[in-house]
């Protein structure tokens, strides 16, 4: 595991534990479960590194951990930022969509590196990032609505709140997509993907893509 990732994980795990205990003592089951899920999310990147799957770049780890921490901080009883600060929810949505946009860009670059049957030119990244972010945004709102209806929670506070969330998703998708386009200008995807150190998994991913392509070719011939 890289040193930077380890330090960031430790730094954010401590306040997350504090928030978890504060939610337990406040008997706030929603904040409690959110903190537990948040802790799991914080540990995903180090776990992937530990089992040797992928080395997530530290800026991405920092962004994920920071957004998880701020999300939980906003739910805590001693701050109540989600309920009392109007822009907190929008900020969280924009942060989450920028992180999602980064993950989508990495996914597209992995495809570009290892697949022979899929190729997305760099100037179309913004389009694919934006539609992916919007899709996740809409699906997330539907998911929140279903949770509210099933468990009588209050994830969607109001109509305006939901529409503001979607508007924030548009902003986050555009910021993430344009940011990625600027960052990637003049950089080779091989260089970036190789820095993720897929190691043996690189061969597995390549084989998986090529096997899929072979099956597709055989099916085409049959048709």
């Amino acid at each position: 595991m890289r040193r930077g990732m380890f330090i960031i994980t430790v730094i954010f795990s401590i306040p997350m534990l504090v928030l978890l205990f504060s939610a337990v003592f406040a008997e706030d089951s929603y904040a409690n479960w959110t903190a537990v899920i948040g802790m799991i999310v914080i540990l995903i990147c180090p776990m992937l590194s530990w089992i040797g799957w992928v080395e997530t770049p530290w800026p991405l780890v920092l962004a994920v951990d920071l957004s998880v921490f701020l999300h939980n901080l906003g739910l805590a009883r001693f701050t109540l930022y989600y309920y009392e600060t109007q822009w907190w929810d929008d900020l969280m949505h924009i942060m989450a969509t920028i992180i999602l946009a980064t993950v989508v860009v990495i996914g597209l670059m992995v495809i570009e590196r290892y697949s022979n049957t899929i190729r997305v030119p760099r100037h179309w990244y913004l389009f694919f990032v934006f539609i992916m972010v919007m899709m996740v945004g809409v699906t997330w709102e539907v998911f929140e609505y279903m949770i509210d209806q099933t468990f009588a929670t209050d994830m969607q506070h109001s109509l305006d709140d939901t529409l503001d969330d979607l508007l924030s998703d548009v902003a986050g998708g555009l910021i993430g997509g344009i940011g990625a386009a600027i960052y990637l200008r003049g950089r080779a995807s091989e260089e970036i993907i190789d820095s993720l150190e897929f190691k043996d998994n690189a061969i597995k991913i390549e084989r998986w893509f090529n096997k899929k392509a072979e099956i597709e070719e055989q099916r085409k011939e049959r048709v």
Binding site: S115, R119, F128, I131, M135, V138, V142, Y145, L159, V170
Partner: protein, 194 residues
């Protein structure tokens, strides 16, 4: 002859879109603009000749567009059943426009796709388009001080139906492509691409 048909259909779609835009129907305005873009893209993508307009697009976008525009122009109130039917046709038209948009990317912009990537991108694009429409409607409500989106339940039930419908239509598209292939589907919708 081909070019005349294409221009005539574009003119028809443009007129119908202008009418629904004038009457403030954002959903059909969006579908009309999207339909026109799908028409225009092959024309501007360095094609040496105009291709015949896509029959399915004509059927699913032009016909309901003209119906909605005529209703708006003549100030006819459609009954609930016809409105529901038009909404379902609008949903299908949106999905077909998503398919055509991705076929255009594949045919004219060197975006290489295999079947699973194509199907998942279509579903993603369709749900994203629904989200963009909702945002546009929200902005339009704020700017023109209207109240088209009236309640959270109305919005969320609509979105849930659209998301469910997108996955269902995506499943059907995947099944259809399993029996044929992307190249022949591209030829049947966009025609032969040079």
């Amino acid at each position: 002859m081909e070019s005349e048909v294409t221009i005539a259909l574009l003119a028809l779609l443009l007129t119908a879109t202008a009418i629904v835009l004038y009457h403030g129907d954002l959903l059909w305005t969006c579908l009309g603009v999207w339909g026109m873009l799908v028409f225009i893209v092959p024309l501007i993508a360095r094609r040496s000749h105009f291709s015949l307009a896509k029959p399915l697009i004509v059927l699913l976008v032009c016909v309901p567009m003209v119906l909605v525009a005529s209703g708006a122009f003549l100030r006819i109130q459609f009954d609930e059943l016809l409105n529901a039917v038009l909404l379902v046709i609008g949903m299908l038209a949106g999905f077909l426009l998503s398919v055509t948009t991705l076929l255009c990317l594949r045919a004219y912009f060197q975006v290489m796709m295999n079947r699973p990537f194509f199907v998942s991108s279509t579903v993603i694009l369709y749900i994203a388009a629904v989200g963009i429409y909702v945002v546009l409607q929200y902005v339009s409500d704020m700017v023109f001080e209207e109240n088209v989106i009236t309640s959270l339940d109305q919005l969320m039930v609509g979105l849930a139906l659209m998301v469910g419908g997108a996955f269902f239509l995506g499943f059907l598209l995947g099944y259809y492509l399993h029996t044929t292939n992307l190249d022949s589907m591209q030829v049947s919708i966009l025609g032969e691409v040079e």
